[in-house]
Amino acid sequence: MVRENYIRRQREEHGRRAVAVLPIHYPKELLTALDLLSVEVWGPPGAPRSDAAGRIQPYVCSVVRNALAFLASGGADVVDAALFPHTCDSIQQLATLAHDFGGWKKPALTFLHPKGEPRPSSRRFVAAELRGLASRLEEVAGRRLDPDRLAAAIQLHREIDLHRAALLDGRAGLDMDDAELYGLLRRGEWLWPEEHRAELVAARSRLDPARRRPGAPVLVTGYVPEPIATLEILNAAGAFVAADDYAAVGRRIARQPDGPIGDPWEALADRLAAVPPCPTRATDQDARMRHLVSLLDRSGARGVVIHVVKFCEPELFDVPAIRRTFAARGVPLLYLEGELERQLSGQAVTRIEAFAEMLGQGGTT
């Protein structure tokens, strides 16, 4: 409801149209440059909003099932189009199911980002795909893409990345618990980017490098911090997230050197390539493991939490490698699998508490 009112206000006050965006990677700069508000749909969590979830078998992830139920129940009717990135087989199928067989009547756009290692062919393809998406977004926005506005949007999102990275890196010196920090970072999924930047700037002013957060630091890798109670329980039990590799959060922050933008299309392709390794892009698994180890080392995390959505093949395929990587270093690991439920099961709560307590006592597996 909060989001719905916000979208309406954006339309009334700024004339902005909105696009619902499914996970995970997409060129948000294009939307911003076209004055389109992106509103991301990560599920949404909780019980499906309508019976339409039953149109997808229960062995498919709850992100996709809930999204169909949400779209079909009119939950996103306030927006003008939906964008389905090429994240996984399930989202690909959702795009055709909702658009072609019912559930979503407004324009359905796709962004087919390439998979695997960067190659000359994939670079050419992404360039063409970005331009193709831009022209479809122009239709939704009812305006032409202005190159200067695109450059400005790229700059704005670079700044946002910078602030988000600073908050995640410096979180041990931040007077916020994990729920508050993630609440802030995840508002970027739907706030107009300039407003989000302002919130981030304000939060950065609360960073105090001298402050040391009490508790056992952990690295969290997974999909999306839902339910947020996962982190609240972790905090209450004496641990906190010191390093983040959530697909929804850390894995979408590009840490690019600041410099001139040059050709904006090249800059967009560069940014997509610069985000941390993500299984949904099928980037090199060894590179991902090195990235996780460096997150652990830089943050001083003493344990790892793998927090995935059940039936999510891209994430699940990397789990054995993550286990191997950290087992070889003697780092304790907790595996959590959920279905975007609003509440954690009693068993999950006990496991999180036991894990945090074990880390607090300096334990290893």
């Binding site: 055709t96 019912g102 087919l112 998979k115 000359p120 062919s121 050419r124 393809f125 039936f311 054995p320």
Partner: protein, 437 residues
């Protein structure tokens, strides 16, 4: 290397054929056993099929070190690898063999202990489990020098082959085929064609020789002709009674999957087609009794329970006359142009059913039920295969409401029998049969 090559050639040309001939002789001496249950006697071609596949797997045991070996996904444009002399191995095919032999739970347990989730595709769990445990119905698969993966069937194969590349420390040749909504864009086709050219360079390095473009055209022609021949075999089931059952089709897929682009494959399907056409002429059906109802099967077979399912249905006079799964290989290379093997392969392999939207699948299902005169359809809701299964609930309803086809959604997993509820499925299939009156 020379010794290894000699062993490979011997296995392919002498030992394999000798063993299969011996096996044939022993079988004949014992007398051919008629198939039990509701089915007609097996096709004569089945013997040749078994021989071919036996020789293929037997020679494969000696392939590594003798010739370059590629492990290939079923939707990969394998025509590219033929002129470079690769021995090709299909892990999906091998995994299906594990499924038929019901050894998947044991193989899966091995990888689950390493952290692989049971929610991952059971082909992957079977194949990786076979590598971990050394258990294989094929005896031994040759070590790959190259992994060739095309994502036109699913993204799963990319994760699977990445894992294999790490295990074997060999290059991964990826052909990423963006999903096609409606018609493919020019840049999608260009992207796939560019990757094929990049892939050729990689495969040339591994094979240690340059690709002969004339030989590529010839392999493309053979691949296209093979697909067309396979399609013609399938089409014989448009006749009443259908000369074979859909299950026969599952097993006769072997050559078009594993040997596409070779003359041997095409010769086999010419023989099979002749035999099927002869059966049609003589009015011999796949079922011994009357073929009362004709069905379509959607999705992968339930490898460990195909016999159980088809026997139950066959006893009631129900025959699977067409399947979207076997049809996929009739589509596979049929549009390839030998004069332009790269761009035409890019288009053809992008346009396979699993890489296209649901309206296309609905058109295919309705066309097939119409052309094959199927009055019912069983849609296997395959827990392991999301790309094939998402959308089936709607497809089932639309087939029923828009095309008047009786439909059943049957829950299973194509390879892991732990997801199969035999009694419940029998009850559902029985109720489905009763609905025909």
């Amino acid at each position: 290397m020379i010794l290894r090559r000699l062993q490979y050639e011997l296995a392919a040309r002498a030992v394999g054929p000798f063993l299969t001939a011996l096996d044939d002789w022993q079988r004949r001496a014992k007398g051919t056993k008629a198939r039990t249950g509701p089915f007609s006697p097996p096709l004569e071609s089945l013997r040749k099929l078994k021989d071919m596949m036996t020789v293929h797997y037997l020679s494969g045991r000696y392939a590594d070190g003798a010739v370059p070996v590629a492990w290939v996904t079923s939707g990969f444009p394998v025509e590219l690898l033929r002129p470079l002399g690769f021995h090709t191995v299909y892990p999906e095919n091998h995994a299906a063999m594990c499924g038929v032999q019901r050894i998947v739970p044991e193989l899966s347990d091995a990888v689950e202990a390493e952290g692989y989730s049971r929610d991952l595709c059971s082909y992957v769990r079977s194949d990786l489990g076979s590598l971990d445990t050394g258990r294989s119905p094929a005896g031994r698969l040759p070590r790959p020098d190259l992994l060739a993966c095309c994502t036109n069937i699913c993204q799963t194969v990319l994760y699977w082959y990445r894992d294999l590349a790490r295990r074997f420390q060999v290059p991964l040749l990826l052909v990423d085929t963006p999903f096609v909504y409606g018609e493919p864009t020019d840049h999608q086709i260009r992207y796939v064609a560019d990757q094929l050219e990049e892939g050729i360079e990689m495969a040339e390095k591994v094979a240690g020789r340059k690709l002969d473009r004339a030989a590529l055209s010839e392999a493309a022609r053979l691949g296209r002709d093979g697909s067309q021949l396979w399609g013609e075999c399938l089409e014989t089931a448009r006749n009443r009674p259908a000369p074979w059952t859909g299950v026969d089709g599952f097993f006769h897929l072997g050559p078009i999957v594993a040997m596409r682009g070779t003359e041997e494959c095409n010769a086999y399907y010419r023989m099979l087609k002749d035999e099927l056409q002869d059966r049609v002429k003589r009015g011999i059906g796949g079922l011994r009794g009357e073929e009362k109802h004709r069905l379509l099967w959607d999705n992968l077979p339930v490898w460990y329970a195909t016999r159980e399912i088809t026997t139950l249905l066959g006893n009631g006079g129900f025959n699977f006359v067409c399947t979207t799964y076997t049809n996929a290989w009739a589509e596979a290379s049929s549009l390839i142009d030998p004069a332009d093997p790269i761009v035409s392969a890019a288009r053809t392999y992008s346009m396979v059913m699993l890489n296209r939207d649901l309206p296309n699948k609905l058109r295919l299902l309705s066309r097939m039920t119409g052309e094959f005169g199927a009055d019912g359809a069983v849609l296997h809701s395959d827990r392991s295969c999301k790309p094939y299964s998402i959308g089936q609930v709607d497809l089932k309803d639309r087939l029923a409401s828009e095309y008047g086809v009786k439909t059943l959604l049957l829950e299973a997993d194509h390879n892991d029998p732990r997801a199969w509820a035999s009694e419940l499925s029998s009850n559902r299939l029985t109720a489905f049969m009763e609905s025909f009156g």
